[in-house]
């Protein structure tokens, strides 16, 4: 758990130090990728709680999910389909599901 917090802090510091932000045109792609990343992380925590954690699946899922999500939203944008909202909804639902699972697990344990 400490590693995770340290990683978060280092990443955050890096983000503050980097001088550029996201151009307005790509902000929707980036936010979807961010949602996918958060979904993967919560999914990983859930897997760790239930004892099925596999770091290969976790890492590949993390990067593939975020890149694929951004790519799909980009394609949808080109085709005039608002996949942006669909992705946000799907990832949001999954994140809250996972959160619920983690909460129940922690409550049962203690």
């Amino acid at each position: 758990m400490i590693y995770a917090v340290v990683g978060l802090l280092i990443g955050g510091a890096l983000g503050f130090l980097v001088p550029f932000g996201i151009p307005a045109g790509y902000s929707s792609l980036f936010s979807v990728a961010l949602m996918a990343c958060m979904d993967s992380v919560f999914g990983g925590i859930k897997a760790a709680c239930s004892g099925t954690f596999d770091d290969k699946i976790f890492i590949s899922g993390f990067f593939t999910n975020s890149l694929m999500a951004a790519f799909l939203v980009y394609v949808g944008d080109r085709l005039g389909i608002d996949l942006y909202y669909v992705a946000l909804l799907a990832f949001g639902l999954r994140i809250f599901n996972n959160l619920g699972f983690i909460r129940q697990h922690l409550l049962k344990k203690h």
């Binding site: 758990m1 990683g7 955050g12 983000g15 902000s27 004892g51």
Partner: protein
Amino acid sequence: MQLEKGRLSIACVCMVLGFMLVIQFKSTEDIRASQPSQRVEELAARLHQAEAENKELEAEIRDLRGMSGDAKSEKITDDIMMISGMTPLEGPGVIITIDDSAKKAKMENDPNLYLVHDEDILKVVNELRAAGAEALSINGQRLTANSEIRCAGPTISVNNVRSAPPFEIRAIGDKDNLVNSINMRGGVADSLKVWGINLTIQPLDNVWIPAYKATTKYKLATTSSKEEETK
């Protein structure tokens, strides 16, 4: 515990996640910060403009108050003469000449597109007025509040006097503003150039504009003492 196995991977992933979170946060902050500042600049510009106008009007009030009755009425008469076009005027400005296209009309195109129309002249005049032209004339006809620019067969009628191309439009005003208003990208000159219509604009330090020659008679309209329309 299983979590221990993937310590390093979790640290890496969390690093990427933290990085992305902060970048996203920064971008959103940028967007939020940039909008109000634009508004502030716009309001500041408007305030400056209003202050300048205010000063000008105050100076005018002082001038008028300082004058005796005769001088006052003389100044007002002068102003009215200038506005109505009853006196010739001169000052810095531009002379624009517009002529029909020298290009040969293509078969598939309407030959009318290669000729100067009343609409083209109207557009030029409109653009000049928007750029702050103080007085205008077309082929020696002063434009007044009652002037028309109208298609009359192969000619264009201004003040009910017909004239044929080339048209010479004279304008008194800020030279640079007038030239830029006509030459701006996607403006009148650009759209006429497509059809090969010759538009030349010549800035001059002294442009002379004739007075309105006909007499204005109001047969039907009478002055009203009412300040607002009553039902």
